[in-house]
């Protein structure tokens, strides 16, 4: 992967040199922005917050005078946690409402469902959630974490700081945990962890009876080696999982659990006192000590008129995506998709943890990795923070994707370039 990192670092150097360009049009009309998040159905629990965050960001931008002299106008639709409906609504947003960009989707299924629509109609989607990687589309920007920006640093932390030698990879049975666990398994084996010290287990969506699974974890953890759980358990299933852990008396000092899908929002439904010390890996926590974050939280509380509302990582990702788009549109002087695609690569905007996020040629962004421990008040104490890491869309730990890179700058303009054969289109071996 040498070529890749070389390309990226060369790029980073020039990235800060983005020029701000704004021209004032005396136009009455508005720039429309689509918001495609489920407001009903199973995913409403996570996605509604992001819709609110987007509305706040748009309102804020309008207060600052809008974009290119026009006001931004949010177009909110409800795809109702129904994946084909996502595609239908995306098409409607682009074709009927003529939005300039869409911010939305949560699950990979919804993203996969809308991907062909965005490519066909040549529009922009900013996707704000951590995902399994293995994708790079010309029309999508992935502002959440790729596995190397979340999972691998978390496992490194467990091995180096907690001295963990045995791993339970516990996940909900869907593509994100499957892929992440495949990557982690390959990574752990490469690090010299024997295969019998890795237990992989899957449960269905919305699983609520964790007695047997937790007992299994406890049993696996009683082999005399320090054991940890790497959890890719999704959404609803987390609360009963942590309740069972707490009641079974599994403390973080015995078997720590590091989760990739548990943030402030999920903890808001839980009494976290028995969970102190369990971990989560994200690129942002509400407890981040930075002026930008303090400002953001203040605005969020004011916008939602509720000073108990928490912020979380996907909100930061949405924030970065929106700021990057705004800055790219300003640089291009137009909201035209092709022009924005040209200017957005290399755009650098401040993130909320006191650093900067740069949009890379692979349409992923740079992010620091933060490891946090759950505190009694439902917040995270940050115990480790890495410098910014470049999102790796094609994992180096999967045999078929390790030779692939993506670079959407001309002349390459390819989402799956094979460095071994030097051809675009994933042509390997």
């Amino acid at each position: 992967m040498k070529i890749k990192s070389h390309v990226m670092s060369a790029f980073l150097a020039g990235a800060l040199a983005t020029t701000a360009f704004s021209s004032v049009y005396a136009a009455e009309d508005t720039i429309k922005v689509g918001i495609l998040h489920s407001l009903s159905g199973t995913m409403a629990i996570s996605e509604t917050t992001l819709k609110d965050a987007m509305l706040m960001l748009i309102e804020d931008q309008n207060k600052k005078g809008g974009l290119l002299g026009k006001k931004l106008e949010a177009v909110v639709v409800d795809p109702a946690s129904d994946w084909p409906l996502f595609a239908e609504k995306a098409r409607e947003l682009i074709s009927v409402d003529k939005v300039s960009a869409v911010f939305g989707c949560w699950t990979s299924s919804s993203r996969k469902s809308v991907l062909p629509v965005f490519e066909e109609l040549n529009s922009l989607l900013f996707y704000p959630v951590q995902y399994e990687g293995e994708e790079s589309s010309r029309n999508i920007f992935y502002t959440g974490a790729a596995p190397n920006q979340q999972a691998i640093p978390a496992v490194d932390y467990l091995m180096n700081t907690e001295g963990v030698e045995r791993f339970v990879l516990e996940g909900t049975d869907y593509v994100y945990p499957r892929t992440t666990n495949k990557i982690l398994e390959a990574y752990l084996i490469a690090k010299g962890i024997p295969k019998e010290d890795i237990l992989i287990n899957y449960t269905p969506f919305g699983f609520s009876d964790w007695q047997t699974e937790v007992a299994k974890i406890k049993e696996f953890g009683s082999a005399g080696k320090k054991t940890a759980v790497v959890s890719t358990i999704n959404g609803d299933a987390n609360v009963p999982f942590y309740k069972e852990l707490g009641n079974k008396g599994i403390k973080a000092t015995d078997i720590p659990v590091v989760a990739f899908s548990v943030g402030e929002e999920e903890l808001a439904g839980l009494d976290t006192k028995p969970l102190v010390g369990h971990l989560a890996a994200w690129n942002y926590f509400q407890s981040v000590d930075a002026p930008a974050n303090a400002e953001f939280i203040k605005e969020w509380h004011a916008f939602t008129k509720n000073d108990k509302r928490v912020t979380n990582d996907p909100m930061e990702a949405a924030y970065i995506g929106f700021k990057a788009w705004v800055s790219a549109v300003e640089a291009a002087g137009t909201t035209d998709t092709d022009a924005v695609l040209d200017t957005i690569i290399g755009t650098t905007v401040p993130n909320l943890s006191g650093g900067y996020a740069t949009v890379m040629p692979n349409h992923h962004i740079t992010k620091p990795v933060l490891i946090g421990e759950i505190q009694a008040d439902g917040q995270f104490e940050i115990v480790q923070q890495t410098p910014a890491v470049v999102g790796d869309e094609w994992s180096d730990y999967l045999p078929d994707s390790k030779d692939l890179i993506s670079d959407w700058r001309k002349p390459m303009s390819c989402g799956n370039f094979n460095v071994a054969t030097g051809k675009c289109g994933g042509k390997g071996s």
Binding site: V76, P84, S95, E120, D173
Partner: protein, 397 residues
Amino acid sequence: MITQMLFSRHEKKTVWAVFLILLAAALVPLANLLIPEGSAFHVPGYLVPLLGKYLCYALLALALDLVWGYCGILSLGHGAFFALGGYAMGMYLMRQIGDRGVYANPLLPDFMVFLNWQELPWYWYGFNHFAFAALMVVLVPGLLAFVFGWFAFRSRVTGVYLSIITQAMTYALLLAFFRNEMGFGGNNGLTDFKEILGFNVQAGGTRAALFAATAIALALALVLSSAIVRSKYGKVLVGVRDAESRTRFLGYRVENMKLFIFTVSAMMAGVAGALYVPQVGIINPGEFAPANSIEVVIWTAVGGRGTLIGPIIGAILVNFGKSIFTAAFPEFWLFALGALFVATTLFLPKGVVGTVQQFIARRKEQKKADAVEQAYQDKAAAKAESQLATLEPQAAE
């Protein structure tokens, strides 16, 4: 001559409906492709697959109505047959991608590549041929329905028990298709299709053709359903619906009759699913969700069960409403939808079509009654007049 036969053998309404659907099959693609944008008659590109989707749902609702409206089998698992047909088509479309996937693996779909599958599972073989896939679209749902029905109807599982086990069936399939080990792409399902029969699925022409195909399929299904319903067999089916035991005592093999209609209905649902997938561009286990199957029941009920046009109108009406409301009132559309269902049951127990029919029937009856009344009165008046006339001379006397 065939048209004549159609006219003679079917209700007038059905013929009109078939005619309208076929008209749509011709006009919508033409209005989309030939009439220039900006014209009032232009059908915008985004609308074509959307309308196609409604028609697929209409076909599914019609299939459900055959078993529920005409045979009294409330299936809460018809979504499963729909999804199976969809998966069969999805597998064909997946194989059509060939080496244009992101990993350029000529044999394996992308989701198998990054999960380290080494070879194509046996049940994926053959799906690179359209004919095979098309066969599977009807065979797989049909076979499942046949086996399921064979056991269920022979043991005389009826009423809510049957409804609940059909729900269990679709729920079990939902869980099974969510599993990545099954080799159907887990919860992401099958997506990112490129070509169908060599045509780009995203091209306007293909879309229009798919819409036309769906409309024609719906029209054919309507003709078939009508033929079934109006045959002697169809009359007995209604007998099964209204008094199963009596029908059995009359000597009919009720379980065989149920099995036949259930299997035919499942095949129709499979075809609906197969047409649905290329138009929406994704098939995933969410289609197996029990809630989806319940929704189909609701479309049918809203339109009017036990009529052939009802389910078609119901499916189009509810889904059209859904499309409008999810965009217009994203936060509150569920209230409207919920209220619609409650209101339909309370005020339109026979569904839209049933109620209209009833209304028309009443009007007709009223007219008849009025006519009779009028005639009677006329007669009476005439009589009185004549009586008067006969009396008059006397009075004159």
